[in-house]
């Protein structure tokens, strides 16, 4: 893109640095320094009030020693987060692709449909949570009202397992499908129509066209959607915090909830930073793996 274009030749190049200086200032202060600090903090035993004590790798050892309270809670939350990711990511990716395929066609009112499916994505997680807690209400929620109308027993949407996971999945899918649908629609719009026309002449049916044209052309979008959705869902906090409160028991307590609890309720800054680092490194590794596994060749 930038080949062959001449850039302005600036005699005093220090002037160019003036333009990037404000960004660099905030970037260093709030991104570079904290990232480096996080490593130091993870070596501390620090309650945020008294003097920090250097404890070396103890915070990490603690997490990898079976039987300690922190390790059992941390890995339970880790597992819960993985369950949440496994429950939500496949339906989100699949449904947003299906919605996009349906709305890529020249259906009457397709902009209205797109708008309706996208609408939840502009709402805050707490607004979404309030709406759905009421949907899931045991006695007066619309779901249980209709379930009883069909003569079935009430469902304890938020207090039984695995119903609590199902509820959180429904909410998250409803909230996240629209944004990814828009990405897929953009990907679909970029596929040249001539590809479809020429294969139609060669006698390919719509199913073959889907497999041999649509899917390969969407690969880049698919990879992006997959990586971003995995990252977003791994960082889940608002839905379980407001809808199930981590319950029943601790069965929907996710990593961000536990890390927040350790840092800002128990004030164990070192331990919580160590947990953040493990979670962060896992996320980096996970994203790199997905790119390696799925990156389109050439």
């Amino acid at each position: 893109m930038k080949n062959g274009k001449t850039k302005l030749k600036v005699k005093n190049e220090w002037r160019a640095y003036l333009f990037i200086l404000p960004l660099l200032f905030f970037f260093v202060l709030f991104l570079v320094v904290p990232t480096i600090q996080s490593i130091f903090i993870s070596f501390l035993d620090w309650d945020f009030l008294t003097k920090p004590k250097f404890v070396g790798l103890d915070n990490f050892k603690n997490l990898f020693t079976p039987g300690t309270f922190d390790s059992s809670q941390f890995w339970l939350s880790f597992l819960n987060t993985l369950i949440f990711v496994l429950c939500t990511v496949p339906p989100i990716v699949l449904l947003s692709l299906i919605f996009a395929l349906m709305l890529d066609k020249k259906i009457p009112g397709r902009n209205v449909f797109r708008g309706i499916f996208y609408l939840p994505a502009v709402l805050s997680v707490s607004c979404v949570a309030l709406m759905w807690v009421w949907m899931f209400d045991n006695d007066f929620g619309i779901l249980n009202i209709y379930i009883q109308k069909f003569g079935l027993a009430k469902v304890n949407w938020l207090t039984d397992m695995p119903q609590a996971w199902i509820s959180l999945t429904i909410v998250t899918v409803w909230w996240c499908v629209g944004g990814n649908m828009v990405l897929f629609l953009a990907g679909l719009a970029d596929i040249p129509v001539t590809l479809y026309e020429s294969t139609r002449i060669d006698g390919a049916n719509s199913f073959q066209q889907f497999i041999y044209i649509t899917i390969p052309c969407l690969k880049r979008t698919l990879l992006y959607v997959l990586v971003m959705t995995n990252l977003a869902q791994f960082n889940v906090y608002g839905q379980p915090a407001m809808i199930t409160g981590g319950g029943p028991g601790e069965s929907t307590q996710v990593l961000m909830m536990y890390i927040r609890n350790v840092a800002f309720s128990q004030f164990r800054m070192g331990a919580s930073t160590a947990m953040s680092l493990i979670m962060g490194l896992f996320l980096i590794g996970f994203s790199v793996l997905q790119f390696k596994a799925l990156k389109p060749k050439a």
């Binding site: 991104l31 320094v33 707490s126």
Partner: protein, 280 residues
Amino acid sequence: MKYLKRIKISYLALFIILLVLAFLWLVPVIWMLSTAFRPEEESIGIVFHWLPQKFTLENFKGLFEDTSDVQIMRWALNSTFIAVVHTVLKLTIDSLAAFAFARLTFRFKETIFWFLMSTMMIPGVINLIPVYILVDKFHWIDTPWAMIIPGLGGVFGVFLLRQFFEGLPTELDEAARIDGAGLFRIYIKIIMPLAKPALTALAIFTFMGNWNDFLWPLIVTNDASQRTLPAGLSIFQGEYMIYKGKLMAGAAFSAILPLVFFLFGQKYFVKGITLGGVKE
């Protein structure tokens, strides 16, 4: 003819499927609104109705009766102030930097740019506690600055704007230089007006991201009056657990601004989402 007919039937089927799905998608919104606009007795009554039998604004009036813990109007003002100031600062900083990276030459330009971009890989959770400690050192806890300033370090906007700026014709800058315009004049008089679509998209994206943020405002505010609307709603939820109408009025109230933005800026939303990711 037969072929056309088949297409029409399959389109009709698709249309009906979409109608059903769209209705299902709207059920939580309809349910929220009908609960917000009816008296409490109706919401927890024995007979079920989709729409309010008796229309009332009581639940919304209740939102204005702030208690010391629940201050919805204050939260809405906090949210708006924070998101507006954050967005203005972010766009200024990002467009200045993007101008340099896209239109000027200077030493280490590529190195600095790719170093900046590589940090997009760092998950936010790693910085959560160190940034909190920093914000506490600056005495920003329970002030709007805690929610305005730290996000200014992000580099996504620079990436987005640089791509757009690079696509603008360079002849414009050169002509302006020959006329003796300074760098800052070129930035403000030529580049910024041309970049309006990208700037609008980034502005909406930044505003909505900041406005809807949930976890960070919860962490950096203890004083209920300093909360943003989304973070405040969690106090609100605890306080009015049993008042369904009031809860839904609060949820609906918090949805107004995002919905207005959505209705008037739909095409920019789409642009903001798609510009960031897939397009090379």
